[in-house]
Symmetry: C2
Subunit: 197 residues, 2 copies
């Protein structure tokens, strides 16, 4: 197996640092130190901190997209069970092994989006839109399968599910507790995602 290049080391360590400290909070110095590479190699591989930020965000979203495919895309499950698997995956991936410190990188970047420049903002907006479309398609499949009521506005419900996940992860981060995520999840499945009678 080839040894990871400086570029790969910077991206892998950089994702951890940026996830923990925020994009504005993480300096290039912090990132190269965590990667164990000389400071100069950052500028060899990235034309700017923003160019690095775009690649880090893509690296993170590759994982988020893999989770979507493994859950929402799992045709062995009924549509509501796919949504449940996604919500579990998206919240458990946050884990409380770190006291809910990391949160979701998309949410963290969104909070400081005014400082990030337009290319990063547009990438974030597109990632939310892609996730929302996948959730809406799955909600439509649940309606078609008779699991959810025909009256549900699936696009609007997908926004609520995504917003509830993002908000609960944010509150869990401030409270250093998974309890807000558990309560959000409980209500979601007792109301919006409750099987049609």
């Amino acid at each position: 197996m080839a040894r990871p290049s400086h570029r790969e080391k910077i991206l892998a360590a950089g994702l951890r640092v940026v996830h923990a400290r925020g994009f504005s909070g993480a300096s290039v110095r912090d990132i190269v130190q965590a990667a164990g590479v000389p400071q100069g190699s950052f500028t060899n591989h990235f034309v700017s901190k923003e160019a690095f930020g775009l690649e880090v965000l893509d690296l993170y979203f590759d994982q988020a997209r893999a989770l979507l495919n493994a859950t929402i895309g799992d045709e062995a499950l009924r549509p509501l069970a796919r949504l449940g698997a996604y919500i579990d995956g998206a919240t458990c991936a946050r884990g409380d092994d770190d006291g809910m410190r990391a949160g979701c990188l998309l949410g963290n970047f969104s909070a400081e989006v005014n400082e990030l420049g337009e290319p990063l903002r547009l990438r974030l907006a597109a990632m939310f839109a892609e996730t929302e479309r996948a959730l809406a398609d799955c909600l439509r499949a649940a309606v078609a399968a008779g699991e959810l009521p025909k009256t549900l506005d699936c696009k609007a419900a997908a926004t609520l599910v995504l917003a509830a996940l993002q908000g609960a992860i944010l509150i869990a981060k401030a409270q250093r507790s998974p309890a807000p995520i558990e309560r959000m999840r409980k209500t979601l499945f007792a109301t919006v995602l409750a099987p049609a009678a």
Copy 2:
């Protein structure tokens, strides 16, 4: 009327700067420039940037608490209408006059909470808890008034409402559009907050 003191100018301008740029993103230099006061007056009035952050957060939450009192506390309205007034106030206060740029200061601070130190984190956690309790009390009043089903777990539903608001404001910020907030609100009132049949 007395002229505002340097201290008051720093807090008022500092709230705007921190709301727009984030706490890590806003330097003391940015804050004193926006306040139009000499750099030295910051250290005259605040022992640290964190001490300033606590006062700015309290100043913001005074407005949030006033909104809670004016809506959730409005006994002239039925409980569900109080919740609607709160949700409208909390999201319209974000306004799209600034392209949804500001977001909610509590959410923004939560995203960068790892960088803020424990006193700020505890203050944020307490503010979320206070808001959640007020929402849960109002949901209980709606259940008691027969507006919502007796089966509703009001504490858990309050978390969902708060999380959905926070998440939708965050997504609206990334997408520079009020549409996510409108869709979240529509689903909330068609499902979790739908009047009992």
